[in-house]
């Protein structure tokens, strides 16, 4: 009886002086890998125009029908996007979205991207529906190039080492430019 007990306790006590595995979350926010699939953003061109042209591909790719778009013709004098149309309404329902990334993969304009923002809690069901204003980035924000739909070219050489991916590098640069995320709360 004593033998197994001592053996068990040796195993547990071994861990007292080991490095702690716990992440002190609210103070210390772990940097997610570059492929992280969390909250979407709608991007802009360098000149500040919206990238989305209301082609509806993301909405039809979405398995859960989480995206709702109403497109409208651009005013020729004062266009909002580079295409003929722009999205007047672009709603994302977080109550449906399963963060699969199919919409990002579908977008032919690089308008959609996913970020590493996962702190999404809201107090009412109404707040679950995010509108275009909430998702659209500020003009001048550096573009995020998404990995979805890009990472398919074969790596050079037969060995398992994969080549450094431009997209990866760009994302790293973006992280550097963005600077450390300020701790919230």
């Amino acid at each position: 009886m004593i033998g197994p007990l001592i053996k068990g306790l040796t195993i547990t006590f071994k861990y007292i002086f080991k490095k702690k595995f716990t992440v002190q979350y609210p103070e210390e926010r772990r940097e997610l890998p570059p492929r992280a699939k969390w909250l979407h953003i709608l991007q802009r061109h360098e000149d500040g125009k919206e990238r989305c042209v209301a082609c509806m591909l993301c909405a039809s790719a979405c398995p859960t029908e989480a995206i709702y778009i109403v497109g409208e013709e651009n005013d020729l004098e004062n266009p909002i996007s580079h295409g003929e149309r722009y999205a007047k309404v672009w709603d994302l329902d977080l109550g449906r979205c399963m963060f699969c990334g199919y919409c990002v993969e579908a977008c032919p304009e690089e308008a959609l991207a996913m970020t590493d923002e996962y702190e999404l809690a809201v107090p009412t069901r109404k707040d679950l529906v995010l509108h275009k204003e909430d998702l659209l980035v500020e003009p001048g924000t550096p573009p995020v190039k998404t990995w979805l739909g890009f990472y398919r070219k074969e790596p050079i050489g037969a060995m398992p080492v994969t080549r450094p991916m431009e997209v990866h590098v760009e994302y790293e640069e973006y992280l550097k430019r963005r600077g450390p995320r300020e701790a919230h709360e």
Binding site: M1, P4, K7, G8, I11, T12, F21, L32, P33, P34, R35, A36, K37, M56, L57, S60, A61, P63, M98, F99, C100, G101, Y102, E105, A106, P108, E110, M114, W147, L148, G149, F150, Y151, R152, K153, E154, P155, I156, G157, A158, M159, P160, V161, T162, R163, P164, M165, H168
Partner: protein, 399 residues
């Protein structure tokens, strides 16, 4: 039936009915078992399922083929990659395409990682039910490391939506293989902790040995698959019997035990984890270069940079995303060896872009039938050990 207590003491007692679940920490989800008890002894057990029926099969009939993949993730949510694997391979069989070799090897690595992750949850929760809480902490610590690997490759910790019909959503990120190497190097060492706490532990053995015996014949009659079958002395593993992917080029053993009790199932699963490590080791060594997706733009979306440049690719992209592809008419059944057993997908295609019918053969559902046969005669305290040892996952049982 002559009741024990009455026989011993002469006092008349009634059989009481006890509802276990659906909200019970050790039913591993939402199952209800109606237990009929004579004192402490179970005389009849009736499992009631369906508390997590979400209509996956019906939803799949209204989705394009490629949109079903994220739904299959959520069947056996302890090992999403194995579920995706079964589905995409079934559709690939229907389409008659073969994915590039590199993608096959990566799929093997992902499926085996999923197997380890799934068995770790089983190990933790089964031990926790019997009273060894520490093991749960160790198991989840290792699982977090697998999560990190899966997150680095797919962007999500669980429910990855990473496999694509025709290959993978992306190649490996830089340094990923080194991460896997590090993990499989450390893992057998770390597995010794729960091993040391349980395998020779007298309490653990007394709680598990001779408990919940499934005889070989019963296991075959009930068409059990996976570890419960192998613990009853039947050597059946789809990875060896009907090799898919590149399993026939990899060396591994199938652990078999003959006792058929909870302890045997424990031993089988522990050994399976070690074998998975072996498989991953070899797969990494043999991993070839090359593409990870096929080149047929009718089935997989063309690469994005081509979509921006070329009109034909753009048209393919629009057509594929908005409509999906149209496989030939016919029906296929394809099964993979998931961590829980034989996970099969039966697809009927009528030539349209959606499955006419998708039927899933979930291993836990079939394995769960055994409960009715093996619970009677045991003490009520053993019920949790037996349920845990069958390792049901209700996303899969109820679909």
């Amino acid at each position: 039936m002559k009741r024990e207590f009455e026989k011993d003491t002469g006092v008349k007692t009634d059989i009481i009915e006890l509802n276990m679940g659906p909200q019970h920490p050790s039913t591993h989800g939402v199952m209800r078992i109606i237990l009929e008890l004579d004192g402490e002894v179970i005389v009849k057990a009736t499992p009631v399922i369906g508390y997590l029926h979400r209509g996956t099969e019906k939803i799949a009939e209204n989705r394009a083929y490629y949109q079903v993949v994220p739904y299959t993730d959520r069947l056996d949510y302890l090992s999403p990659m194995s579920n995706e694997l079964g589905y995409v391979m079934a559709v690939e069989k229907l389409l008659g395409v073969e994915v590039p070799l590199r993608a096959q090897y990566i799929r093997v690595i992902l499926a085996e990682l999923a197997r380890i992750a799934s068995h770790l949850v089983w190990l933790g929760s089964n031990a926790n039910d019997i009273g060894a809480v520490t093991v749960f902490l160790y198991a989840f610590r290792e699982r977090e490391k697998i999560y990190d690997l899966l997150e680095a490759i797919s962007g999500q910790r669980m429910n990855n939506a990473f496999l694509k019909i025709g290959g993978l959503a992306g190649d490996l990120p830089e340094g990923w293989i080194d991460g896997v190497r590090k993990f499989i190097k450390e893992f057998p060492e770390k597995l010794k902790d729960p091993d040391g706490l349980l395998t020779k532990n007298r309490i653990w053995r007394e709680r598990t040995e001779g408990i919940g015996i499934i005889p070989r014949d019963l296991a075959i009659d009930l068409s059990l698959t996976g570890p419960p079958l192998r613990a009853s002395g039947v050597e059946r593993d789809l990875r060896k019997d009907t090799p898919y992917l590149v399993y026939d080029e990899l060396e591994f053993d199938i652990p078999v035990e003959t006792a058929g009790d909870v302890y045997a199932r424990y031993l089988v699963r522990m050994e399976e984890m070690r074998q998975s490590v072996r498989i991953i080791e070899q797969a990494i060594e043999k991993l070839p270069g090359g593409p990870v997706l096929i080149d047929d733009y009718k089935i997989v979306p063309p690469p994005k940079d081509k979509v921006y440049r070329d009109i034909p690719e753009l048209i393919h992209h629009f057509k594929l995303i908005s409509e999906g592809f149209h496989p030939p008419e016919g029906e296929v059944y394809f099964a993979v060896e998931a961590p829980k057993g034989e996970l099969g997908y039966y697809i009927v295609s009528d030539g349209s872009n959606k499955p006419y019918r998708l039927r899933i053969r979930p291993p836990s559902f079939v394995n769960l039938q055994a409960l009715e046969y093996i619970l009677p005669g045991h003490l009520i305290a053993d019920a949790v050990a037996i349920i845990g040892s069958l390792d049901p996952v209700f996303g899969e049982v109820d679909r």
